[in-house]
């Protein structure tokens, strides 16, 4: 009942802005990770709030399914298309078809290597910036004291691993008190994060020589937190823990004082995309080529329990 009431209020409030119900097609990659499931949920929520009629298509990791979905959206004559492309190449012809039909296409989360004139804009996060925010947090927190950092990298050679490593290094550059002493891949998984952290602890005097852990995603940090606890140390105080993504479970760890900070990779890519589309529909405002989402830093003082509650049902 309460939900119905808030929805009614929201519809009334937005009723003026969206004069006629727009139809938007959304071609999603699939649901390979919790983050992507959350992106799908949030896109549907955002569309509902704005009174947009969302046509959803799950491509199950296949480009041919996405191309077929976009062609079917064009045939249905939708007002715009959201595309989270599974790969970067091979989109030229279908994007040209959309352009000929005068349907704006907005890319979500990932980029394509087609000409930027073929799509309206792209919404995404800056992976390098995420690493910078994490590094800056550590610089501010240790405040000049010596700090030996161990790093759990993402899958070797993947762009998040490369960019998040570079961003962090850029932020700590010039701060000679902070030094990355060990760096290994944990493949973005909890199990490997735990296993690699165990070896870090062995190699660094049982963990006594480690001041902070930087993990390229929250899942590896959660695995590492368990390894730190099992080694008899207190994660969050003996070893500072900073990671990226802001999945619900890291907020749980933060509320227990076991993790210190996380940088959000927001799954709400659709919000800025719909904002740009609204402006474009209303008076033809062209958005910039790339809309960067905010990489917000969350710490223990940001009421982690409330953040956990807000996120747990998004499908992570």
């Amino acid at each position: 009942m309460k939900r119905l009431l808030t929805m009614t209020v929201a519809t009334l409030a937005l009723g003026g802005a969206a004069a006629s119900a727009q139809t938007v097609g959304f071609s999603q990659i699939g649901s390979e990770s919790g983050w992507r499931a959350a992106e799908t949920t949030l896109t549907q929520q955002q569309a509902e709030e704005r009174g947009i009629d969302l046509r959803f298509s799950d491509a199950q990791q296949r480009q041919e399914n996405q191309i077929a979905a976009i062609r079917s959206f064009i045939a249905q004559g939708v007002d715009a298309i959201l595309l989270a492309p599974v790969v970067a190449t091979g989109w030229d012809s279908v994007l040209e078809e959309a352009q000929e039909a005068e349907i704006p296409v907005v890319l979500l989360d990932r980029m394509v290597d087609s000409d930027p004139s073929l799509y309206l804009t792209a919404v995404g996060s800056d992976l390098v910036h995420e690493g910078e925010v994490a590094g800056q947090w550590l610089v501010d927190t240790v405040a000049g004291e010596d700090c030996r950092v161990v790093e759990l990298q993402g899958t070797t050679g993947s762009s998040p691993a490369i960019d998040r490593a570079n961003g962090f290094r850029a932020a700590i550059e010039g701060h000679d008190n902070i030094e990355i002493v060990r760096s290994q891949t944990g493949n973005f998984t909890r199990t490997e994060g735990k296993e690699v952290m165990e070896s870090f602890l062995q190699a660094e005097n049982g963990g006594a020589d480690i001041c902070a852990l930087y993990a390229h995603n929250d899942d590896m940090a959660i695995g590492a937190i368990q390894a730190i606890e099992e080694a008899g140390l207190a994660p969050g105080s003996d070893i500072l823990v900073v990671s990226i993504d802001a999945v619900p479970d890291i907020f749980l760890a933060m509320s227990e004082g076991k993790a210190n900070a996380t940088v959000e990779l927001t799954p709400n890519m659709a919000g800025p995309a719909f904002d740009a589309l609204d402006a474009y529909w209303n008076d033809g405002t062209m958005p910039p080529n790339f809309i960067q989402t905010e990489s917000r830093l969350y710490t223990q003082s940001d009421d982690p329990m409330a953040e956990y509650e807000a996120r747990r049902d998004l499908g992570y």
Binding site: Q184, T191, S199, A203, Q226
Partner: protein
């Protein structure tokens, strides 16, 4: 009997010793074991603990390979059984319920493979490929695509607890391995399995119930995968259907091969496969301790595995025996000549 087993696993023991020496060069404290909070701590303990999943899989895989089969589905079975264990513990089935349900699911997975191979007659690599590709999807259905976490100290104990200072996973695989090895060697079962692997038709004609034995062997593999799935989930207190057991079937096959067992079936040694699993884990842990950049991990692992397999190859072994005999013959001839000259 004992000395025969020892001679059988001698190459694996030598390999382990050489690896330990190599790692000690780049990481001096490698063999150190200390006691902290009443539990043993050290790289060797980590190897015994982290190697548990592959070691458990290798036990079942050894039997399957001895029948001239292969089981590609064990990695997916880890994901399914881990998900089942996490799901049932968070739905209040209790520790006994969760464990028995997970083990039952592992046995059903093995039964499925066994029926496809033994009764329908599909080639093992194809039959188990079905569950390998479909199984992870089944696991994702159970976890609804997210990492299913639980907080239950009893189940977590199986992954990160310890008995007399030794981590539980490090105890589980030797116990399972000894039990299976005794069952195979103290009864005729081992012999019968080897007979099926060497010639299934001939063994069937000789009165061996090959169908039943094959199904039992694949179910054993499913059971081992279930145990591995349980400790994988218990270790991180959650079931990660996307990543649990990913590619571990290949590590298990590699462990069996490094253990000197032939992929053509026939004679097998569970102990040698277990040492093969420990060799793989020693390489993995050694690479982590050495602190090389992660780009080198797989290259170093591949180089070491190739070196180990080349040194163990039958061709090289026969060459060694040949040179050894020539050396001995020449020495004998020299001795004879010296004796003659003396007379």
């Amino acid at each position: 009997m004992m000395s025969r087993t020892l001679r059988r696993i001698a190459p694996q023991l030598v390999t382990l010793a050489v690896l330990a020496a190599l790692i000690s060069v780049v990481f001096p404290g490698f063999l150190e074991i200390s006691v902290s909070d009443g539990r043993l701590v050290g790289p060797v303990i980590d190897i015994l603990k982290r190697g548990a999943t592959v070691a458990l899989l290798a036990i079942g895989m050894t039997l399957v390979i001895a029948t001239r089969g292969i089981d590609l589905s064990v990695g997916a079975t880890i994901a399914i059984t881990g998900a089942v264990a996490a799901w049932s513990i968070s739905n209040g089935l209790g520790l006994a319920g969760a464990l028995s349900l997970a083990i039952a699911v592992g046995l059903v997975a093995g039964l499925w493979n066994g029926v496809l191979v033994a009764i329908i007659g599909i080639q093992p690599i194809v039959a188990t490929l079905i569950l390998m590709t479909a199984g992870r999807g089944v696991a994702q259905l159970i976890t609804e695509g997210r990492i299913l976490t639980f907080s239950h100290d009893g189940l977590a104990f199986l992954g990160s607890g310890d008995v007399l200072g030794i981590p539980v996973p490090a105890l589980l695989w030797p116990v399972t391995g000894i039990a299976v090895a005794l069952l195979m060697r103290r009864t005729a079962l081992g012999l019968l399995i080897e007979a099926i692997g060497i010639n299934r038709r001939a063994s069937a004609l000789a009165g061996i119930n090959a169908r039943l034995l094959l199904i039992a062997v694949y179910m054993t593999s499913g059971l081992c995968a279930a145990l591995a799935g349980i400790i994988t989930a218990a270790d991180i207190r959650g079931a990660d259907a996307n990543n649990a057991g990913l590619w571990l079937e290949l590590d298990a096959i590699l462990a069996v091969v490094i253990g000197g067992n032939s992929l053509m079936g026939g004679r097998f040694s569970v102990a040698a496969s277990l040492f093969g699993a420990m060799i793989i884990q020693t390489i993995d842990t050694g690479i982590l301790l050495a602190g090389f950049p992660s780009e080198y991990n797989l290259v170093i692992k591949a180089a070491l595995v190739v070196a180990i397999l080349v040194l163990q190859s039958p061709r090289l072994a026969s060459t060694w025996i040949y040179w050894g005999m020539r050396l001995r013959n020449r020495r004998a001839a020299d001795a004879a000549r010296i004796r003659e000259a003396g007379e």
